[in-house]
């Protein structure tokens, strides 16, 4: 696919967003207003800016990445707009910021490429851990940067200076930074980790020393789990480490050990945190405690059921009945208003995006790039799977966002940075 075709698809995605906003307006009985044009302009500016940056600084990058992300962003934005216009106008700002940051990242890497990520890996490890710990900043000190808690999880920081108030989930960025660290660390030690073994009965275990990164990963995730009490973010982080370790070594033992460790952590979390217990019982029997714990997931099921094959149409359903519809439950809103047609299309688009990511990884001849692309594709896919499975009650709900679609600045920024990294990796491989 040529760059021009990519540009055409981006215009298409922006049109989808503008057309969707127009439909929502009409369905709600409002006329067409500036929102339609504003949405189109912001989408064109965001995607167009990123597109030009790729043309300029990573011309060999895959042409599939940006259009897939753009259409997901467009559909997500229309649903956010439909649910809450205030959030939608914030989301437009976040989209501009996220794509601007992605452009900056491409600009920063134009000469050096990914080399600094590789070289300064311990800086990234440290900053990653720091980002993870930021929400533990006191809520009530005089410093304008504070941590705070929401829905039982302490994942947020808030910057407050006068009337200006910004909220951010640093964990979203930490994922990328730690993926970069792991790709760098593992690509160097890969040979060692994979080969040296110590026998234990019939099994051959890696040297204890070689297990250190695994332990660090587990500890970091556990910190997130214990202090921030969030199962979803912790699972994502841990699964990223395990998956990259497995990708680097090809040793299934990491997967099984990791699975066991996470299982143990999950059980421990279930035993100690009431909000985890609530989520599990809501998952097992949402209608058993309909009025309380089961309410949110039951509303989600009602939304999917009401959507049926073709959906209610944009603006014509009632996804606003689902608590947190614009963030965690955006996929239920898609299911209701766009029906099975829309929900399957969204899942398929995510699958394609993840496939493009893995394709970049598989085509990479360089181990670092291979691991980084694979890790990023994996964490994107897993996050998508976990939240979609959660809102459909296939798995217990974890409070994470649906990439590109949910309302939320941290999520948008993190995912567009992820996209820029994948673009740069694919460029370097072909250039």
């Amino acid at each position: 696919m040529t760059r021009n075709a990519e540009a055409a698809l981006l215009v298409g995605a922006a049109s989808v967003a503008a057309f969707g906003v127009a439909l929502v307006n009409l369905a709600r009985g409002d006329g067409l207003d500036a929102q339609v044009a504003l949405t189109f302009v912001v989408m064109i500016a965001s995607f167009g800016g990123l597109h030009l940056a790729i043309r300029q600084w990573s011309p060999e990058a895959s042409t599939y990445l940006l259009p897939l992300a753009a259409i997901l962003t467009a559909i997500g934005f229309v649903e956010v707009y439909r649910l809450d216009r205030g959030l939608a106008s914030l989301q437009r700002w976040w989209l501009l910021i996220a794509t601007a940051l992605a452009v900056s990242l491409l600009l920063a890497m134009r000469r050096t490429g990914l080399a600094p990520l590789r070289r300064y890996r311990y800086v990234f490890l440290l900053s990653g851990l720091l980002l993870l710990l930021l929400p533990l900043l006191p809520t009530d000190w005089s410093f304008p940067l504070r941590g705070f808690e929401q829905n039982g999880s302490r994942l947020w920081i808030r910057f407050q200076a006068g009337p200006l108030r910004l909220q951010f989930q640093p964990g979203e960025i930490a994922k990328l930074v730690l993926a970069a660290f792991l790709a760098s660390y593992l690509s160097e030690r890969q040979a060692v980790l994979g080969v040296q073994t110590r026998p234990l009965g019939r099994y051959r275990l890696p040297e204890l020393r070689q297990l250190a990164p695994l332990v660090i990963a587990w500890a970091a995730s556990f910190v997130v789990l214990i202090y921030q009490r969030d199962l979803g973010a912790s699972l994502l982080l841990f699964a990223l480490f395990i998956a990259m370790l497995y990708a680097a070594t090809g040793r299934g033992i990491y997967l099984t050990t990791g699975g066991l460790l996470f299982g143990a952590g999950g059980v421990a979390a279930w035993l100690s945190f009431p909000h985890v217990q609530r989520r599990v019982s809501a998952w097992l029997d949402p209608f058993g405690d309909y009025a309380d714990t089961g309410y949110q997931i039951a509303q989600s099921l009602f939304a999917f059921g009401s959507g049926s094959l073709s959906g209610s149409g944009l603006g014509l359903g009632a996804p606003d009945r689902i608590p947190n519809a614009a963030t965690d439950f955006i996929f239920a809103a898609v299911g209701e208003e766009l029906g099975l047609a829309g929900s399957v299309a969204v899942i398929a688009t995510f699958a394609l995006l993840v496939a493009v990511g893995f394709g970049i990884s598989l085509r990479s001849r360089d181990t670092f790039r291979k691991l980084l692309a694979g890790g990023l594709a994996f964490v994107l896919g897993l996050q998508t799977f976990l939240i979609i499975a959660g809102v459909m009650r296939l798995l217990p709900l974890t409070g994470i966002t649906l990439p590109f679609m949910s309302y939320g600045g941290s999520s948008l920024v993190a995912n567009f940075l992820l996209l820029a990294l994948l673009a740069r990796i694919s460029h370097e491989e072909r250039a």
């Binding site: 090809g250 999917f304 059921g305 094959l309």
Partner: protein
Amino acid sequence: MNQPVRRLAAALFLAFAVLILDVTYLQVVAGPRYRDDARNPRVIASRTGKERGLILSADEQILAQSVADPDDPQRFNRVYPEGELYAHLIGFSSLNFGDDGLELAYADELRSKRDLTVSDLLSALLGGDLRPKSLQLTINHGLQQVAYSALGNQRGSVVAIRPDTGEVLAMVSKPSFDPNLFLGADAIATRELLLADPSEPLANRSTNRTYPPGSTFKVIVTAAAIESGVAGPDTLLPDPVELELPGTSEVIRNYDRQTCGDGTQVTLQTAFRRSCNTVFAELGLLLGAEALTMEAETFGFNQDTPFELPVLNSFFPQPAEFSNDLPALAQSAIGQRDVRATPLEMALVAAAIANDGIIMEPSLVSHIFDAEGGAISENEPALLQRAVSPSSADIISDLMERVVASGTGTRATVPNVRVAGKTGTAETGVGPPHVWFIGFAPVEQPTIALAVLIESGGEAGENATGGSVAAPIAQEILAYWVRTNG
């Protein structure tokens, strides 16, 4: 190193495939269950808060309307300004119990289509109007009020019909209930109370309860006699004091335990005027089961009645059921035993005689208007069936006029108006009789036919007769109608 990456990718694609299967299950297989769950706010919202169309009486009294909620102008509250007066006709559109009455029958017209369905959207794209439509009823508000108050505190029903069109002019069932209470916060408790009430306020007695028609059924027996040529008004019939029912020790007596006329024979005319059971029981035996069943069915018994509200079928047994049971046939001929009729059916019987033997399809809704007030559809009078020939109808009309002039129905007399009627006092076996009056006016050009039923004798109890209890109520209603529309 590609192998593990491929495996990770494969695992994720497997997970995505599971997602697609699950979302298909959720939206298609399990979907309807969640969609229709009573707790689904969409189910609730589709019933409440949306604007619904107006319902007006023929004289443009507002009977149901949607009023914008003062706290939230986007939401509408359904209001029934006339409350109990129209409860059984209009029903209600309730959050808790769904729709009932005309609110249910015309749910599709009355609801706003700014709603959920694809077909609504398609129709909007094709230029359809999404706004709710309004109904105008055939009911005359003044007449409805008169009928409602004429029944007083007695359990019963009044059905008044325009004979030449089938338009229902009044339809009252008592006791009634306030449909507004079904919309409020105490809806569930209110319904429990009403369901537990032994006087059955929720039942629409006009259409959904059947009663033995008693002597009002003699109109049909007379029609059978005249149509078959077995007897005319002046035919002399045997006139015993009591009629021993063949093969049993039971007897049929006249109401006053006397003969009907002055001697051993009496004309059909006199027997009809005085409502003599012995004469009509014998006449029934003479006509035979075949003829009676056929005649009852041409008047609408055992038939579905096309109507906007559900109607219970009135019942007359099939001839085979009488083959070994002549007493039953004799008792059926005076509207007892297993014969059952709704007040609506008996009003149609009166209307048939008034309309030269033709029963018009009864109707409650005359016009449907769009939101601009333009009529979309108008109810055209439709012929339901011919009950008797015009000449037979003439003869029976004359017989019925004599009932009111100098028979059992004198208390239905309206000064300066020719009123025709027939009384009925139906024994129930337990407790006081159900009493009836059916009739029409003015005889020369009838504009109203009606049936009045009082359950269990009303306030008169054991002593109640159709002539003493039901006829005066009919009188009030007919007098009002002729005065305001004569």
